[in-house]
Structures are given as structure tokens and as C-alpha cells.
Symmetry: C14
Subunit: 82 residues, 14 copies
């Protein structure tokens, strides 16, 4: 066996990257889906405001997306930088 300490570190980093992105995609995925669902409902009732509602939905989703992007950043850092 020729396992060095650096190998253990790398292996932990790869496992951590998978967990970070896998778990981190649950929240934004569900949350943005709820926003899209309600936006469709609202446009169906009030189609004259479709532009306004689409913009609001996208702004709200963009903020919710942020934690998913943080997870991506951490996963990429765990893969390439560390």
C-alpha cells in the first residue's frame, strides 16, 4: 500500500464536492419550481401583466439560484483549487 496523506485529502475533496452540489441542488430546484408554478397561475388569471410577472419570477428565482451557485463554486474549488 502506497497511500499518501495527499491522496486522502484529495479523496475527501472529491466526495465533498459531490455532496455539496448534490445536496445544494435540492433547495433551489424546489424553490424555483414553486416560483414558476405561482407565476404561471398568476399569468393565467391576469395575462395582461405577463411581462411584469415574468420579470418578477426571474428576479425571485435569480436570488434563489444564488445558493445553488455557491454550491457550484464550492464544488469547483474542491475539485480544482484545493
Amino acid at each position: 500500500m502506497a497511500i499518501e496523506g495527499a491522496d486522502i485529502i484529495k479523496a475527501a475533496g472529491l466526495l465533498g464536492a459531490g455532496l455539496s452540489m448534490g445536496l445544494g441542488a435540492i433547495g433551489p430546484g424546489v424553490g424555483e419550481g414553486m416560483a414558476a408554478a405561482k407565476a404561471c397561475e398568476a399569468i393565467g388569471r391576469n395575462p395582461k401583466e405577463a411581462g411584469l410577472l415574468t420579470r418578477t419570477m426571474l428576479v425571485g428565482q435569480a436570488v434563489s439560484e444564488s445558493t445553488g451557485i455557491y454550491s457550484l463554486v464550492i464544488a469547483l474549488l474542491l475539485l480544482f483549487v484545493v
Copy 2:
């Protein structure tokens, strides 16, 4: 036994890829389904706006899909690049 450190790293990467994509598909799958469900409901009530609602649904789903795609990217990186 001839297990090298590089083998441990690779094994951790493959396990991490499976967890990243498996967990990362739960959120967008449920969220996009909610969006599609509400879009059908809205079109059933207001079929004149079907084009507008389909477009809104697709835009909302596209944003929600993004975390699923991040998970795919991380899984592919864990498989081939690292």
C-alpha cells in the same frame, strides 16, 4: 494488495459523481413538475393564453433546471477530468 493512493481518489470521485447527480436530480425534478402542473391548470382555465403560459413555464423550468445541470457538470468533471 496493491492499492495505490490514486485508486482511492478515483473511487471517491466515482462515488461522489453518483451522489451528486442522484441527489441533484430530486430538486429540479419535483420543482419543474410543480411548474408544469400549475401551467396545465392555468391553461385549462384560460386557454387563450396558452402560448404565453407555455413560454412562462419553460422559462421558469429553465432556471430551475440550472441546478440540475450544475450537478451534471460536477458529475462529469468527477468522472473524466479529475
Copy 3:
């Protein structure tokens, strides 16, 4: 015992493939079911728009299916390519 490092990698890949597809089927399965449920409800109320609603349901499900297909791709890659 004659366990090589390549065996450990392969074993981790097979376990990862099972987890990726197993977990990755939960989200789309539930989400697409919700879309189908609401589409049936909407058609029951407004059967004149059945074609439009079926098309919307299928488009929405197709997007939701995508994360399930990503999981399949990752599982197949873990099985055959790596």
C-alpha cells in the same frame, strides 16, 4: 487476497451507478406525476382544450424528465466508460 486498486474503483463505480439512478428517479417520477394529475383535472373541466393541455403536459414533463435522463447518462458512464 488479491484485490487490486482497479477493483476498488470499479466497485465504487457500480455502487455509484445504482445510487445515481435510484435517487435520480425519485424527483422526476413524483414531479411528472403531479403534472399528469393536474392535466387530467384540467381536461376534465375543459375537455375542448384536451390537445393543447396534453401538449403542455408533455412539454412540461419532457423538461422534468431531463434530470432523470442525466442520471441515466451518469449511471451508464459509471458502468461502461469509466
Copy 4:
């Protein structure tokens, strides 16, 4: 003890097959049940459209079934091909 590396790989494959099919049956099972439930409700209200609703239900369930079939495919591959 005469455990070869190929045995470890096979054992991991069998465990992975069980997890893939077991977890992968949860999502479609629940989702298709929701579609069937709503279809019954809609037919009860509007029995004249029973054929249309049954068709819509089956189309929606077929898409939802797909991830269950992917899980079956991965499990069979883990059992016989790998």
C-alpha cells in the same frame, strides 16, 4: 480467505442493483398514483370524457414510468452485463 477483486466488484454490483430498483420505484409509484387519483376524480365529474381522460392519464403515466424503466435497465445491467 480467498476473496478476489472480481468478487468485490460483483458484490457491489448486486447491492447497487437492489438500491437502484428499490429507490427508483418510489417516485414513479407515487407519481402515477397521483395521476390515477386525479383521473378518477375528473371522470367522476365528467364521465362523458372518460376516453379522453383515460388516454391522457396513460400518456402522463407513461412518461412518469420512464424513470422507473431506466432504474430497471440500470439494475439489469448491473446484474448481467457488468
Copy 5:
């Protein structure tokens, strides 16, 4: 200790069979129950369509049952073929 590799494979297969059938019975069991519940509700409101509703319920449940049967198939394969 006289544990051969074939014993490890068999043990993993038996455990995998238990997990596959145990987990795989949750989804269809709940989903079919929801379909039966809504069918009873619909027949209570509209008993004239009982035959139509029972047929729809059974068709919907049959599709939902499929993932349970896949789990059974995988479990039997894990028990007897592998």
C-alpha cells in the same frame, strides 16, 4: 475462517433483494391507495359511473403497479439467477 468470494457475492445479493423489494413496495403501495381513495370518493358522488370508474382505477393502478413488479423481478433475479 473459510469465507470465499462467492459467499460475499451471494450475501450482497440477498441483502440487495431485501432492500429492492422493501423500498420498492413503498411507492406503489401509497400511490395505488391514493387512486383507490379518489375512486371511492368519485363513485360516492356519481354511482352511475361505477363501472367506468372502477375500470379507470384498475388501469391506473396497473401502471403504478409496474414499478412494484420490476422490484419483484429484480429481487427474484438477485435470489435465484445471480
Copy 6:
């Protein structure tokens, strides 16, 4: 220590039998309870159709029971045949 490989296989089979039946009883138990609940509700509203509703409930429960019976079969096979 005189642990043979056949003992490991048997132990895994017994544990698998317990998990298969224990997990496999959750889904049908909850699903059939939902069917019984809705049947009581429907009979309370429309007692003239009690025979029809009881029959529908029993048919729906019988299908839902099937995955529970599959779990029982797998558990018995794990106990006595393997």
C-alpha cells in the same frame, strides 16, 4: 472462530428478510388506510351505494396489497429457500 461463508450468506438473508417485510409494510398499510378512510366518507354521504363502495374499496385495496404480498414472498424465500 469457526465462521463459514454459508453462515454469512444465511445471516444476510435473515437481515434482508426483516428489512423487506418491515419496509414493504409501510406503503400498503398507509395506502389501504387512505382508501378505507375515503370509502367511509363516501358511504356516510351516500349510504345507498354502500355495497358498491365497499366492493370498490376492496378491489382497490387488493391491488395495493399486492406489493405487500410481494414483500412477504421475498421475505419467505429469503428465510426458507435460499
Copy 7:
């Protein structure tokens, strides 16, 4: 240490018995409670049909109980026969 293989088998059987009965009591317990709850609600609204409703509740619960009894059977087999 004088641990025989038969001891490992017996220990796994006892643990499996506990898990089978413990997990297997969750589903029927909750499901039968839902049936009893709805039966009380229905009798409160329509007390003239109390006998009919009690009979329906008991029939529905009896079917739901079956998976609990399967769990008991498997647990007893794990305790005494195996």
C-alpha cells in the same frame, strides 16, 4: 472468543425480527387511524348509518392490518423457526 457461525445467523435473525415488526407497525398504525378518523367524522354527520359505517371501517382496517400481520409472521419465523 468462541463465536460460531450459527451465533451470527441467530443474532442477525433477532435484529431482523425487531426491524421487521418495528417498521411494519408504522404503516398499518397510521393507515387504520386515518380510517377510524374518517369513520367517526362520517358517523357524526350521518348517525343513522353507524352500523354500516362501522362495518366498512372494520373491513377496510382488516385489509390494512394484513401487512402488519405479515410483519408479525416474518418476525415470529425469524425468532422461532429459522
Copy 8:
């Protein structure tokens, strides 16, 4: 160390007894509470039928209790007989 095989069996039996009773108390506890909740609600609306409703509640709870009693029986068998 003087650990005999019989000690391992006994320890597994005690742990299994705790899990069987602990998990097995969740389902009936919640289910019977739902029955009691709905019975109170129904009596509040229709106090003339209090005797009938209390009897129905108790019958329904008694059936739901059965899986809890099975768990107790298995736990006692694991403690004293095995």
C-alpha cells in the same frame, strides 16, 4: 476477552427489542391520535351521538392498537423467550 456467541445473540436480541417497540409505537400513537381528534370534532358538532361516536372511536383505535401490541409481543419474546 471472554465473549461467547450466546452473548452476541443476547445483545442483538436486546437491541432488536428496543427498536421493535420504539419504532412500533410511532404508527399507532399517531393514528389513534387522529381518530381521537376527529371523534372530538364530531361530538362537538353532534353531541347527541356521543355514545355511538365514542364506541366507534374505541373500536377503530383497538384495531389500530393491534400492531402496537404485536410490537410489544415481539419485544417481550426477544427479551425473555429467545
Copy 9:
């Protein structure tokens, strides 16, 4: 190290006692709370029947409490008798 088999048995018994009482308190705690909540709601609507409702609530809670008491009995047996 002077660990006897009897120590392992005792340790497993203590851990099992904690799990039995800890898990076994979840179900009755939630269920009895639901009964108390609905009883308060019913008394608020129909305060003339407060005595009857309090009695019904207590009877329903007493049955629900039973599984909690079984857990206590098993925990005490695991502590003192075994």
C-alpha cells in the same frame, strides 16, 4: 481489556432502552396533541358539551398513550430485569 460478554449484553440493553423510549415518545406525543387541539376547537364552538368532550379526549388519549406505556415497560425491563 477485560470486557466480558455480560458487559456487551448490558450495554446493548441500555442503548436499546434509550432508543425504545426516545422513539416511542414521538407517536403518542404528536397524536395526543392532535386530540387535545381538536378538543379545544370543539369546546370553543360548543362549550355546553365541555364535560363530554373532555371525557372523550381523555379516553382517546388514554388509548393512544398505551403504546407510550409499552415503550416505557420495555425500557424498564431492558434496564432492570434483563
Copy 10:
């Protein structure tokens, strides 16, 4: 290393005490909160019966509290008596 069997027993007892009280506080905490919530709602509608409702809430909570107290008793026994 000078670890005696009595140390293992004590350690298992302390861990069991933490689990017993930690898990055992979830159920009563949630259940009593539901009772308090509904009592406030009922008093807001019918403030003349505040004394009666407070008494009912306290009686219902006291029964729900009992499983929390059992958990406390088992935890204290695990700490000091065993």
C-alpha cells in the same frame, strides 16, 4: 488501554440517555404546541369560555406531556441508577 467492561456499559448508558431525552422531546413539544395553537384560536373566537378552554388545553397537554416525562425518567435512570 485499560478499558473495563463496566466502562462500556456506562458509556452506552450515557449515549442512550441523550438519545432518549432528545428524541423523546420532539413528539410532546410539537403536540403540545398544536394544542396551544388551537386553544388560542378558540379563545379568540369565544373569549367567554377562556377558563374552560385553558383548563381543557392544560389537561390535554398534561397527558401529552406524559411521554416526555417517561423519557426523562428513563434518561435519569440511565444516568444515575444503572
Copy 11:
């Protein structure tokens, strides 16, 4: 290595203290929040009874708090007395 049995006991006690308080804070935290939410709703509807409702909320929360305090007591005992 100079690990004494007393160290194992102490370590188990500290871990148990963390679990006891961490898990034990979930139930009361959620339950008391529900009570506060309903109290605000009731005061918004009936502000003349604010004093009465605040008092009821506090009494109900105090009982719900009790299991949180039991968890604190057990955690402190695990830290300092044992």
C-alpha cells in the same frame, strides 16, 4: 495510546449531551412557534382579548417548553454531574 475507560465514558457523555439538546430543541421550537402564530392570528381578529390570548399563549408555551428544559437538564447532567 493511553486511553482509559473513564475517557470513553466522558466522551460518550459529551456526545450524548450534544444530541440531547440538539434534538430536544426541535420539537418545542416548532410547537411554540405554532402557538405564537395562532395567537397573533387570533389577536388580529379580536384585539380586545389580547391580554387573555397572550396569557393563554404563554401558558401553552410554558408547558411545551418543559420538554426542552428536560433536555437541557439531561444535557447539563451529562456535562457536569456524570
Copy 12:
């Protein structure tokens, strides 16, 4: 290796501190959010009572906060005193 018993104790304490605060923040965080949500809803309906409602919300949240603070205290004790 120069691992002393005191190191094991300290490590268990640090892990316990993380679990205590991490788990202990879930309950109050959700519960206080529910209180704030209902307070906003109530003020939106009855803005004249904003002061009264804000005070009630804060009092209710303060009680709910208490278990979070207990968790903080236990975590700090695990970090610095033990």
C-alpha cells in the same frame, strides 16, 4: 501515535457542540418564521393593532427562542468549560 484519552474527550465535545447548535437551530428558526408570517398576515388585515401584534409576536418568539439559546449554552459549555 500519541493519542491521549483527553484528546478523545475534547474531540467528542467539539463534534457534540456542532451537532447541538446545528440541530438546535432548526426548530426555533422554523417556528419563529411561522410566528412572523402570521403576524404580518394579521397586521395586513388589522393595521390599527400593529403595536399589539408586534409585541405578541416578539413575546411568542422569545419563548420559542429559548430552546435555541439552550442549544447555544450547551455548545459553548462543550467548547470552553468541559
Copy 13:
């Protein structure tokens, strides 16, 4: 291998920090989102009170945020002070 006790302590501290902040962000994140959701709903109904409602939302969120901040504090202490 040159692993000192201080290394084990540090590693446990880093893992504890990750768990403390990761778990501790779930509760406040969900709770504050509920508060923001209801505040938007209330402002949409009663836009004249937007200032009052925004202030109430922020006060309620600030209290809910507190447990998130406690988690941050514990995580920072685990990283730098201990």
C-alpha cells in the same frame, strides 16, 4: 503514521463546524422565507401599510435569524478559537 491527539481534536472541530453551519442554515432559511412570503401577500392586499409590514417582517426575521447567527458563532469558534 504521525497522528497526534491535537490533530484528532482539530479534525473533529472542522467537521463539527461544517455540520453546525450547514444544519443551522436550514431552519432560519425556511422560516424567514415564510415570513417574507406572507409579508408580500399582505402588502399585495393592503399596500397602504407597506412600511409597517416591511418593518414587522424585518423584526420577525431578525429574531429568526438569531439561531442562524448562533450557528455561525459556534462554527467560527470551532474554526479559530478551539
Copy 14:
């Protein structure tokens, strides 16, 4: 094997970083999605107040985002500083 203590620390830090960001993204992602969903609903009803509602949504989301940012900070500290 040449594993130093510093390697264990680093590996624990990387795993902790993945868990911190992965778990920490669930809460804010779901919570902000709820806020965005309700904001769309409110704007659909009252489009004249779109600016006010978008501002409120963003303020509420910003506070909810804070725990996600704390998780990011802790993960970055675990990656680069420690």
C-alpha cells in the same frame, strides 16, 4: 503509509466544507422560492404595486439569503484559511 496528522485535518475540513454548503443551500433555496412564489401571486392580483412588492420580496429574500452566505463563508474558511 505516510499519513500525517495535518492530512487528516485537511481532509476533515474539505468534507466539512462540502456538507456546510450543501446542507446550507437547502433552507434559503426553499425559503426564497416561497417568497418569490407569493410575490408573483400578489403582483398578479395587484399589479399596480409591483414595485413595492418586488422591493419587499428582495428585502425578505436578502435576509433569508444571509444564512446561505454564512454557509459559504464557513465553507471558504474551511477550504482556504484553516
